[in-house]
Amino acid sequence: MAFTAFSTPTSTAAEPAVRKRSWIALVLLLPGILYLLLFFIAPLISLIFTSFQQPVIDGDIGQYSAGFQWQNYTDAVGQYLPLIFRAFGYAILATVFALVISYPMAYFIGVKMRRWPLAQSLLLTLVIAPFFISFLLRTLAWKQIFSDEGPVVPVLKALSVLPTDGHITGTPFAVVFGLTYNFIPFMTLPLYAVLERMDVRYIEAGADLYASPWTTFRKVTIPLSMPGIVSGTLLTFIPAAGDYINASNDFLGSSQTSMVGNAIEANFLVLQNYPIAAALSIVLMAVILIIVGIYVRRAGTEDLI
């Protein structure tokens, strides 16, 4: 399954035979690799060039020429630093919440339901069901549910959990809630993929060797499911950090919750300030790669594809 993309649990397959006709390999690889070079690598390079462009003197809005405007970066970061921090802060929170919600669910479906394969696969279908319906609509549904006229806010106000002039939408809570919700399936699936294959005899052996259920869980189950945890957290954290739907005004956020993604979108598509949008993209990408690099190294799963 693609959702275990971020880690390969020790490749069990025997090393395939070495074959000589490498020209066939070349024919198979070339079209796809060229495609990625042309439409993935080249755009990233072009993004770097754009990030150093300077405005054309006396030109229209959105007209830039090649340059080496290092200042774009200091401007972008100076102007949007809170949004950058917010993006990573929200993404980390959403990742942690998604993990806490997903792990028991994945464990139950993957381990406890093994005896009933049909029920197991039907439950899994419920987990991925959100994939089959537009995530924008799902997010809007939460917006309606949490709106001031919706069913939740009046109840919370009556219980004095929320002040009388309080809102849910437009708050950091709503944005983190939306991010958590939207990425739970991405967290659950890789966890499930690992737990479903895990040999329960390890857990039994743990119990046999005098470990309490909690100790067994901590010392046996968690380490064995580490590849799933790594994939799941990455599949949640990376898109969450770059997301701008949940935080946008029209969905669960407000101007107080804008993330770096919102700034990139606004600068690119509205303000046509391409160099700033490009610089922010590069910064976002760089920070993510650094965090992911450190994380993957510490988690010890370096075999990524």
């Binding site: 395939p16 070079l37 754009t50 406890k112 394969p117 537009s134 609509l137 990376i238």
Partner: protein, 274 residues
């Protein structure tokens, strides 16, 4: 065992805790879906926010809302074309990665991993910057290019898993039984990969159909279904959008469930045979 009774009650509690937790989590996941489905029957005007009463009109006149069916059609076109392209390119890479050894392997693995590790907003902005600098007009074509790009990696990962699980002896048996290289590929390797390829294609289509962020940067004036919703969100989504989303959802769920039930039935039949 002195703590017998207490222990048993704890086990019973633990036995129930996990299913209840799972049920709550699943309900949480399904609430917005139910909401979307229910509000597809709302007898609303332009704004589909407050409940105005039940109607089937939106289901029977789904194209009445301006632009929704055009956007849906565009999403289907983009999804199908991008799926075909990504599946073809990705499957070829997956086969090469599993079956052949070559020097640039780790570099290629990195190239395939990076698009999955790059936030969509960066992928979208990058392509848009590229199209801008090349003076390409954005439209359906650029959306397809973008979707194919981010689907390839997912196809590779999915198909690769299937190729690795193929017993190399099957292909050797094909060669041993007088099959030429082409015959072995088309009569043995390919048919055995079909389930993996189909899964990859479905995944690609789902990713493409639901993509908004990358599309938003590279669509120009063309609307896809998610983009239609995004634009409409500012002033209120017509219930027709809920109808389309619900219909797609039901179709997908039915396909998946039918596939699972038939597979389970077949497994049962096989188990009986032995």
């Amino acid at each position: 065992m002195p703590a017998g009774p207490r222990r048993r009650s704890r086990i019973r509690f633990r036995g129930l805790g996990l299913p209840i937790y799972t049920a709550l989590a699943l309900i949480f996941l399904l609430i917005p879906i139910a909401y979307t489905f229910v509000f597809s029957f709302n007898n609303s005007g332009k704004l589909n926010i407050a409940w105005q009463g039940f109607t089937l009109d939106k289901w029977t006149h789904v194209c009445d809302a301006q632009g929704v069916c055009e956007a849906f059609t565009n999403s289907i076109i983009v999804g199908v074309v991008a799926t075909v392209l990504a599946t073809a390119l990705g499957t070829a890479i997956a086969i090469a990665l599993v079956r052949y050894r070559f020097r640039a392997r780790s570099l290629i693995s990195l190239l395939l991993f990076l698009p999955m590790a790059t936030p969509e907003v960066v992928l979208g902005a990058g392509l848009a910057a590229q199209f801008l600098s090349l003076g390409v007009n954005k439209g359906l074509g650029t959306i397809i290019i973008a979707h194919t790009m981010f689907c390839i990696s997912f196809v590779v990962v999915t198909v690769k898993a299937r190729v690795s699980s193929l017993d190399p002896a099957l292909e050797e048996a094909g060669r041993d039984l007088y099959g030429s290289a082409a015959a072995v590929f088309w009569r043995i390797t390919f048919p055995l990969l079909v389930p993996g390829i189909a899964a990859a294609a479905l995944l690609s289509f789902a990713l493409s159909f639901d993509d908004f962020i990358i599309t938003n940067f590279n669509s120009g004036a063309v609307d896809t279904f998610p983009k239609f919703i995004y634009i409409a969100a500012a002033r209120g989504i017509p219930a027709e959008a809920n109808v389309i989303a619900s219909a797609v959802f039901i179709l997908a769920i039915v396909i998946v469930v039918v596939a699972q039930v038939t597979r389970a039935a077949r497994a049962k039949r096989l188990a009986r045979l032995h």
